[in-house]
Symmetry: C2
Subunit: 367 residues, 2 copies
DNA sequence: TTGTATGCGTTATCAT
DNA sequence: ATGATAACGCATACAA
């Protein structure tokens, strides 16, 4: 992305201000406060720690008058229960963790939002960590969240080192796998069939009369969703008697920039493809903007399709023909499955959602 | 959890497949494992708990041979140090929390990513929580993260209830405020001047000859960034001798949809504005796509400007003329400021970044 | 180099 | 209805 860095350099040179004020001016007059504890509250309210604890956990079991006194002390001291102590004593965190490949694009945002809302409904907190599509880093984040006492985990996709699954199993961490229906015995999922969805999209493209088709896929290594979408396209070609060996494929990372680059590369081939199937909407959007830069009309000169149906799909020009994924329902289902698991449910219950193609205009007939 | 079952029922109706396999088929043969503890590892490796602990915290102080034995036991038991216990004993979490309004759009993504990377460099973990732009919910999330032992916090923007600041101060939680330079004594920030940036953008619009200008602002209540951007525009008008009272303003939430709706509303006025300044790129993108639907050319029929310079700005048609914000550097600076604070630095050090206007074509001369 | 013992803040059990 | 007290898992000062 030399465009970006060149730009940033320019900014830097031009005008950053870093100010530093004298400490005397700003320091809050206050001893290096350590957090107030149950004990502090108890003393101040003139009750036992047990009573204070009850005020938080079983408020009904303490008379209103005492409770009021306690809550006042809580306010005054800005007391917050120490999570560590709490977990240590109760063995429950009411927290689940989600580990996603990236927050840099919106692919996971909507599903995660729904996931969080559903969790919040049941009094659970969601903690999110990201991996940058790095498997090692995923394992680290998993360990971190588990160590932090996550009652359960949401992971994206199925493909990861056996080590990770072994760890999860050994620790019996309730886990739900999202964005994919590939799984194995004992692992729950809430997802959709990436292979099938991509296959359907490819069939649609073929139905439009395209023969010279290319694909901008996500990086397939270690990413079953990307791999399935690719293999789905290949299977469609095969079934329609097109030679899949002649499908040009460029694997691209997850930015618009990557999509643009891949598009340029594919279009430089002779003969150029008449349709480009993209592994996700971000790549497709990048492709579209590159098409514009190259002076190519979509879909007149070349068709482009997306996958995911995130916001960006509706706002590009032309709007993307893409695979709609019911992100919110998938996230909600993931939450209910996970919460059931956490509550001790032993049956593996899964949710598989149908996807469907949304035609918006970026796919047209072959010339 | 009737909520869950109701949901699954609804899914079913709609074409979701929910499978439930017999438990015998899937249950991992395993006692209801409770997590292994230091003690378990110690016994298995035939050392004391202190030694095991040291293997994690001061590996040099234990001979390689013992360490190897210990680590083996750790592997075999899939042991992970219990975070709660650890924090309780050491009073340090090496965790910071970030609380952002929403994950649903990319406005905060890039800055946060940089923030996380910088933290990771110093061995810190980032936990992210979101509020849905709800101030009450922000306070809850703050308390949650603090209770969880966050060593520090990143918050977006300045405007929030005094209660929250009091809490933060009472608990001396190191905090950095991002995306804004409005602050007060003792509070650090890493941000930019929203007012000034918006003012500059408005001046640019005026310089293009526009007189009938309108604005799609973010919701200003409780959101200083949105409010500052609005007041910046107003001040520009005033300075250029245009009557700010005749600036039509629609406040919109944060989705593309909201931007579209607001655009339609503004354009239905007689006479219609010739330029619409948007409070952020998402709203601007929504406006652009609505313009297309209404058959309006941008910038020939109406100019549209954005703010933030997130990815979407480059991919819409026409690409957005917008305010570039150095998100990554802002995130990095936020991290170093916060880490300094956590390390005990008492000086309030701030970072203020300049923004600049990127011309991409959505702003043109007035007709 | 390693082990022993104590305390961190909370919950939960048992008394009162 | 409330209080006293024993865990919970770990780090650490101190002892060996």
């Amino acid at each position: 992305m030399h465009f970006v860095s060149a730009y940033i350099l320019e900014c830097k040179r031009l005008h950053v201000i870093v100010s530093r004020r004298a400490s005397s001016e700003i320091v809050t007059i206050m001893p290096p406060t350590s957090s107030p504890t149950l004990n502090d509250v108890a003393k101040r309210a003139d009750v036992s720690t047990a009573t204070v604890s009850r005020c938080f956990n079983e408020p009904d079991r303490v008379v209103p008058e005492t409770r009021k006194r306690v809550m006042l002390a809580v306010e005054e001291l800005a007391y917050t229960p120490n999570f560590g102590g709490r977990v240590l004593a109760s063995r429950k965190t009411h927290t689940v963790g989600a580990i996603i490949p990236t927050m840099e694009n919106a692919i996971f945002a909507r599903g995660l939002q729904a996931f969080e809302e559903a969790l919040a409904n049941d009094g659970f907190t969601l903690l999110v960590a990201s991996t940058g599509y790095n498997p090692e880093r995923e394992f680290e984040q998993i360990k971190k969240l588990v160590a932090r006492g996550a009652d359960g985990l949401l992971l994206i996709g199925w493909e990861r080192s056996k080590k990770v699954f072994d760890f999860l199993k050994a620790r019996s961490v309730p886990t739900v796998i999202a964005w994919s229906t590939r799984s194995a015995k004992g692992w729950c999922y809430s997802g959709f069939n990436n292979h099938q969805a991509a296959q359907q999209m490819a069939e649609r493209v073929i139905a439009f009369g395209h023969k010279r088709i290319a694909m901008i896929a996500g990086v397939t290594k270690g990413n079953d969703r990307a791999a399935d979408r690719l293999s789905g396209v290949i299977d469609a070609l095969r079934q329609k008697r097109l030679n899949p060996d002649r499908l040009p494929v460029v694997e691209a990372q997850y930015t618009l920039e990557d999509g643009s680059r891949a598009f340029r590369e594919l279009m430089s081939r002779k003969p150029a493809p008449t349709a480009i199937i993209c592994g996700n909407d971000v790549l497709a959007a990048g492709a579209l903007s590159e098409a514009r830069r190259m002076g190519l009309k979509v879909p007149e000169d070349v068709s482009v399709t997306g996958f995911d149906d995130i916001d960006i799909a509706t706002v590009v020009e032309p709007p993307l023909t893409t695979v709609h994924v019911p992100h919110r329902r998938m996230g909600q289902a993931a939450a209910s499955i996970l919460l059931n698991r956490i509550a001790g449910e032993q049956n593996a219950s899964n949710a598989e959602f149908e996807t469907e193609i949304v035609e918006r205009g970026s796919l047209g007939p072959a010339r």
